[in-house]
Symmetry: C2
Subunit: 164 residues, 2 copies
């Protein structure tokens, strides 16, 4: 897909889907959870795409050839996958991406959403987390979850632009 070197922290492209599936399988085995066909298929659909997918997009992709997957089922699978940290929801897009990292559970994620190509990258930043914790403490607020999404232009698109 795209090869940049610099930016790419979690290799969302190409071989990512197999990784994600393998990781999911392992995790479900550990936790004694069912990694069913539907869940597998949904995860695969999300993982083979750098862009965020809507639940209905996923349903459409999984349907065809005599199989019909309703959006409800997709939502249930997505609930399962997000609860187990295998997939993340992009609140600003009402869409989902597969988790590229194997970050420690509590890590605060930062989503980088490119306006130009629509792809989503995912990072963590302990420094941001620290500062945020400090800010919250000062406000007397006890956090339980956070959403941090940045929209802008990714390195790849910036490069393409400057070359033109």
């Amino acid at each position: 897909m795209h090869d940049l070197g610099a930016v790419h922290e979690h290799a969302t492209c190409c071989g990512n889907s197999v990784d994600a599936l393998a990781r999911a399988e392992r995790l479900c085995a550990e936790r004694d959870l069912q990694f069913t066909r539907l869940r597998r298929d949904v995860l695969e659909a999300v993982a083979t795409e750098t862009k965020p997918l809507g639940a209905y997009d996923i349903a459409e992709r999984l349907s065809g050839q005599g199989r019909r997957v309703a959006a409800v089922s997709v939502y249930r699978a997505l609930d399962f996958l997000t609860e187990n940290g295998l997939v993340h929801r992009i609140a600003s897009r009402n869409a989902f991406v597969s988790c590229g990292h194997q970050h420690g559970e509590g890590a605060g994620l930062v989503f980088l959403i490119c306006r130009t190509c629509g792809s989503i990258d995912e990072t963590t930043s302990p420094e941001v987390d620290d500062q945020l914790d400090r800010t919250l403490a000062k406000a007397g607020f006890k956090p339980s979850s956070r959403i941090l999404e940045v929209e802008g232009e990714c390195g790849a698109c910036l490069g393409r632009e400057s070359r033109s």
Copy 2:
């Protein structure tokens, strides 16, 4: 409404609605924009509530007594208000709150959403912004807008809880 002292940075309660309206009026005059009745009413509805309101909630509130405000109209008013920084959208809730600060345009806002009472507080944190900018720069990402929403428990609710 709630009186806490410590936490309250922007006095979202009580008298806030008049402030918001006055500020809006001033801002629209400056920029030569129309602060119409609908826009005024929508802003007022949002400003008199600490909780985030959905577009349909607002439409409902403004309807009655022979007046019928369709959701479409509310959305248009909300678009106007958000574009001019008078109202903010809470992505994780598909809802809107009036802006309590008169922050400098580019300030990165942090929304504190209380799970218990549902109210929303709003802060800024230059330190978080700095760290985030650094992180983004390292990733070669050029930001144009950001969403930072934290869910948890606000100071008021923590207090109530510990007293019980």
